[in-house]
Every structure is written in structure tokens, then in C-alpha cells.
């Protein structure tokens, strides 16, 4: 049994088919990348996985259990956490309280180790992503790169089995990208059973992390394989670069 199984997932917005009959699966401990040109339906796919949208047809199975139609917060509590492409911090709250919100959810509260306070756990989560210094700063005063990491700490606070990262490198400079790549790798090593799905535009950064890449074009899956295979795949090159002469 796969950890997450996606079968014939379809989502239409009026006449537009944003996600068209996509099937794939994710196993424990896998790092999967999802790439595709703008408007390919990657974010829609994420919204379907995290319950913010309901698919028109198809199935989503987490450990064999159907999770289609569950509200987002229930899906998080079942173990699928996500970040957003555009950062969504709680601006009035200090950085540490942003993480404490996630720790207040049933799953987050359950995952706090014995004899550990919520504050302590939140501080540990922030230390993992390197935000300890900004702990007490209101989130509205924090820069974009740090907010990206805060997003990640928020998602990790519930200790998900599957982590969905929606463009984690978007808007980051090379230095920050490098730092984030490293922290994603470290997170993966710390928790080897956690599966991570990354949607990304920056292929260079992505290809270094993931072992398997799924390419989406106009809502449909066009290729799947290791980064090397994808880099050589003619259909993918055609989609990204146009047809050769």
C-alpha cells in the first residue's frame, strides 16, 4: 500500500480542465517534485490534495483511506500539511505564536513531546528552520525570505506524514535558496519516513533535492521519472522550450 495514492484526479473550472486525469503515488520517505510551465495546474493539484478544493472526479487515498471531500483542517490532522505559494503569516502575531497556532490543532497538540510546553516546542520548530532570533518579532516586521521559512515551520509543527511545499524557493535570492535547500534536506534526514512533494519553478534547485519528478502540462501528467530522465525527455523539452527546428 502506498502512503498517498492519487487516482484519475480531475478538476474543472467551467470549461477549463485545470487538473486532467492525473494519477500517481507517493511512498514513505520519498521526495517528489512536480514541475510544469505556468498555469499547468500544479497549485490546483495542491489545493485538491490539501482539501481546499474538491475534485470533480477521482480518488485520493492516504494509507488506503479515502480523503476526498474532507475539509482542510481534517486533512491536516490526518497528516498532510502544506505551505502556500504566497506567504500567509498571521501578521498580528509574533513569529513564535504563528507556530503555536499550528500546535494548537489536534494533531499538533498530540505531537508535542511529554513534559514539553507549547512554547518550547514552537521555539524548537523555529530553531529547525533558523528563525530563533526573530522569535518575538511580530510577523508583519519579518522579511519575505524569513516568512517562507516560517511557512515551513508552521507546516512542520503538525509533524505531517506528507509535506506539500508550494514553490518554497519563490522570490528567494540564491543565498536563501541554498539555505532552504539545505534545511529541506536536513528535515528529510531528520524524519526519513516523511514524504515531501515540492512544486517548483526553479528547476536547478529542485533537481538537486528530489529523486522523482512529475511533469504536468495543461493539467495532464506528461512525464514521470528521475531528474536525469526528465532532463532528457523530449516531450518535456518541447513543453518548456518549444519544438526543435
Amino acid at each position: 500500500m502506498h502512503l498517498l495514492e492519487i487516482q484519475n484526479l480531475t478538476k474543472r473550472f467551467g470549461g477549463l480542465t485545470a487538473v486532467d486525469n492525473i494519477s500517481f503515488h507517493v511512498d514513505e520517505g520519498e521526495m517528489v517534485g512536480i514541475i510544469g510551465p505556468n498555469g499547468a495546474g500544479k497549485t490546483t493539484l495542491f489545493n485538491l490534495l490539501s482539501g481546499f478544493l474538491k475534485p470533480d472526479s477521482g480518488q485520493l487515498r492516504l494509507r488506503g483511506e479515502n480523503i476526498v471531500g474532507l475539509p482542510p483542517h481534517k486533512i491536516v490532522n490526518k497528516g498532510i500539511a502544506r505551505t502556500f505559494q504566497v506567504v500567509r503569516p498571521f501578521r498580528h502575531l509574533p513569529v513564535i505564536a504563528n507556530v503555536m497556532v499550528a500546535l494548537k490543532s489536534p494533531r499538533g497538540a498530540q505531537k508535542i513531546e511529554w513534559l514539553k510546553t507549547t512554547e518550547r516546542k514552537a521555539a524548537d520548530m523555529l530553531e529547525d528552520v533558523g528563525l530563533s532570533e526573530l522569535m518575538l518579532e511580530p510577523a508583519e516586521n519579518v522579511g519575505h525570505g524569513d516568512l517562507k521559512r516560517l511557512e515551513m515551520a508552521k507546516a512542520l509543527a503538525t509533524e505531517p506524514d506528507i509535506l506539500l511545499l508550494d514553490e518554497p524557493f519563490g522570490g528567494l535570492n540564491p543565498l536563501e535558496t541554498d539555505f532552504l535547500t539545505k534545511s529541506i534536506m536536513r528535515m528529510h534526514l531528520d524524519e526519513p519516513s516523511r514524504a515531501t512533494i515540492i512544486v517548483e519553478h526553479k528547476l536547478y534547485a529542485l533537481m538537486k533535492i528530489v529523486r522523482r519528478v512529475i511533469v504536468i502540462h495543461q493539467g495532464a501528467k506528461i512525464a514521470e521519472g528521475t531528474p536525469e530522465e526528465i532532463a532528457k525527455n523530449e516531450r518535456v523539452i518541447e513543453v518548456y522550450m518549444g519544438k526543435g527546428i
Binding site: 483542517h73 505564536a97 494548537k104 489536534p106 508552521k154
Partner: protein, 369 residues
């Protein structure tokens, strides 16, 4: 030995009260309010202060729902009126004493807020404000409806309700009521403030900031919104109960739209989302309205021989609106928050580290150890 104990108690008290500007302000405020009746204030002003206490409870409950959770309610008079009518009806039909009817009325208020919460909280923002506005209007017409006059008393409401402390004489009774309402205000505002600054309160603020993101954090948003609404309804109906027993009558105007707007005005005067702001706002509002405009202005003009026509009452409202407008434009973040910001700046100069709400401070202390 004993002296050391007291010194330690004092320093702990100082650390918990003097170092936190909002609390220092509350302490000063309470001290002033506690000695006011002893200074020989006339019964008329005591009565104004009593209603300030009651309105402060009402506004603080509104602030928890709107300032902290972001669920805009323009129909808070619903809970106010329901509290009042429930305690009145319980007295009328069962003859229960005040001390029993008030808790029951508070629970009824909480129950009603739960009931209206389920349909209401599905809509967001301005739509929510409009939907909540409808409920008190329905009840306003219901209690005036002619077939129900035997029950609700129609336009005149339910009269001759028992007052607090009936065994005392007029002035003493009023002082006693003043202290009672002050005590209840203190208790309920401390409870509301504690809730607002607890971990649940953090979740409330997260809903205010970004509902989608709090869903993505695994928060059952509907449940927390309902919690906030129920707590708010509980205290708003307490305010309604107090009002009814102080005035001795429970009448339809309790459901009026103007009653719903009072917490809005008070909260914006004091500072939205602070909890202590609306309480400060309540005193500013009533002192402005009843003392400055009515007594100071009118009496001083009359002493110069200017006799104001009876239309002045309407002009008063206009002047009052103008003053509120100026205050809100001058201090958009609220007068109370402006003051605490000033105090915090002073403190920042003293010690940069020891700022912020207690919850972070406590954490910091642990870090140091």
C-alpha cells in the same frame, strides 16, 4: 521573616503589574474608580458611572469577538436584550431571586449565540455584519408584537423588576450597585483578557489575520469562531442583565440598532483588539456625553444667561459625533492603545528585552534560566 515575605510578594506583584503597561493602567484606573464614590460624588454621576461599568462589559465582549477574532457583529444588542429579557421573564413567571436569574440569563445568552452562530458564521466580512444586524431587529419587533404583549409587555417592556441590594437606602444602595458593577466589570474583563491572551486567543487572532492559513494549520476555524461568539454572548448578556436590574425595566429599545453601535463606538474610541480599550472608551464616552456636554457646557452657558432651546438635545448629538470623529482621526489606534504605546516606549528605553505580552515574556524568562 514576615517582612521578607511581604517584600517578595510586593516585588512579584510589581513584576506582574507595574512592568506591563496595560496592567499598570488598569490598576490606576481601578484605584481611581474605587475611590470615586467616597469623594462624595452625587447620585446622578454615580448612576452614569454605573452605566459606564455596564457598557464597558458589553463593549469588552464585543472586542473579543470583533477585535480579536475578526467576526464583525453589528447586532450585539441581541445578546444584551436577550440577557435582560430572560432575567426579567424568569422573575415575572417564577419569581426567582436576582442571583439565580442572572447566571441563567447568561447561559441563555450563550446558547442563543451558539444557535445564531451556526448560520451566521458561514458568511464573512461585511455580509456577516449585515446578517448579525438582522437578529436584534427581529426580536425588537417580536417583543413589541401585539399578541405577545401579555408576555413581553409590548412597548413598555417588563416593569418593576427587583433592584440590587433592596435593603439599603437610596444613596448607599447606589454606591453598593456601583461597587458591584465595578467588581463584575473587573472580573469579566480579566476573564476576557485572559482568554484573549491565552493560546486559544492566539488562534482567535490567527482567524482574524488569515482564515485560510489557520485552516492549513489544522485549526477547526468554525469551532473557534463559535467559541469566541459564545464567550462574547455570555458577557454581553451579563451586561444586559445588569442594565435591566439597575433600571428596573426591560424594554424593546435594548434591541435597537443604536444599542448595537454603542460597543462599536466605545471600542474604536479606546482601541480595537485591546480588550482594555473599550473599557476606557466607555468612561470617555459617558463622561463626554453626560458630563462635558450636558452639565459643563449647558450649565456654563446658562450661567451666562444663555438659555438653550430644547432642540439643543439634537445639537448635542451632533457635537458629540464631531468630538468622536476628531478623537478617532487623531488617534486611529485608540486612546488606550496610544497611552500604552507611550508607556511602552518609556519602558523600552529602560529595558528593551522585557516587552510584550506575558506569554512571550514567560518564555523569555525560561530561556534565561
Amino acid at each position: 521573616m514576615v517582612l521578607t515575605y511581604f517584600r517578595r510578594a510586593y516585588s512579584s506583584f510589581a513584576a506582574h503589574v507595574f512592568d506591563i503597561p496595560p496592567r499598570l493602567m488598569v490598576l490606576l484606573f481601578l484605584m481611581i474608580l474605587a475611590v470615586l464614590p467616597v469623594t462624595g460624588l452625587s447620585s446622578y454621576y454615580l448612576r452614569i458611572l454605573i452605566s459606564a461599568n455596564i457598557l464597558a462589559i458589553f463593549a469588552a465582549s464585543w472586542d473579543l469577538l470583533v477585535g480579536r477574532t475578526g467576526q464583525i457583529s453589528l447586532g450585539h444588542s441581541l445578546f444584551f436584550g436577550i440577557g435582560g429579557y430572560t432575567t426579567a421573564l424568569l422573575f415575572k413567571y417564577f419569581g426567582l431571586p436576582i442571583w439565580i436569574t442572572i447566571p441563567i440569563a447568561m447561559l441563555v445568552g450563550a446558547l442563543i449565540s451558539l444557535l445564531i452562530g451556526f448560520p451566521c458564521l458561514r458568511v464573512k466580512g461585511p455580509y456577516l455584519a449585515l446578517v448579525t444586524m438582522a437578529f436584534p431587529l427581529i426580536l425588537y419587533n417580536l417583543v413589541r408584537w401585539s399578541p405577545l404583549i401579555p408576555i413581553f409587555g409590548g412597548e413598555f417592556g417588563i416593569r418593576d423588576l427587583p433592584a440590587f441590594f433592596p435593603e439599603l437606602v437610596v444613596r448607599e444602595q447606589r454606591i453598593a450597585i456601583y461597587y458591584l458593577t465595578l467588581l463584575l466589570l473587573f472580573a469579566s474583563s480579566v476573564i476576557i483578557y485572559k482568554i484573549a491572551n491565552s493560546k486559544t486567543g492566539i488562534v482567535f487572532v490567527s482567524i482574524l489575520d488569515d482564515e485560510v492559513a489557520s485552516k492549513a494549520c489544522g485549526i477547526n476555524v468554525t469551532r473557534y469562531k463559535l467559541t469566541s461568539l459564545v464567550i462574547s454572548g455570555l458577557f454581553a448578556s451579563l451586561a444586559g442583565c445588569l442594565q435591566v436590574h439597575v433600571l428596573g425595566v426591560s424594554n424593546p429599545p435594548m434591541f435597537l440598532l443604536t444599542m448595537s453601535f454603542i460597543p462599536v463606538i466605545l471600542t474604536f474610541l479606546g482601541g480595537i483588539g485591546t480588550i482594555y480599550g473599550p473599557i476606557v472608551g466607555a468612561y470617555i464616552y459617558l463622561v463626554l456625553d453626560k458630563y462635558v456636554l450636558t452639565d459643563l457646557l449647558q450649565n456654563s452657558l446658562e450661567s451666562f444667561g444663555v438659555v438653550l432651546p430644547s432642540e439643543f438635545d439634537y445639537a448635542k448629538l451632533l457635537i458629540f459625533a464631531l468630538i468622536v470623529l476628531i478623537l478617532v482621526i487623531k488617534w486611529p489606534r485608540g486612546i488606550a492603545r496610544f497611552t500604552t504605546d507611550k508607556l511602552e516606549n518609556l519602558e523600552e528605553a529602560r529595558d528593551l528585552d522585557e516587552r510584550g505580552p506575558r506569554i512571550w515574556k514567560r518564555y523569555k524568562k525560561k530561556e534565561k534560566n
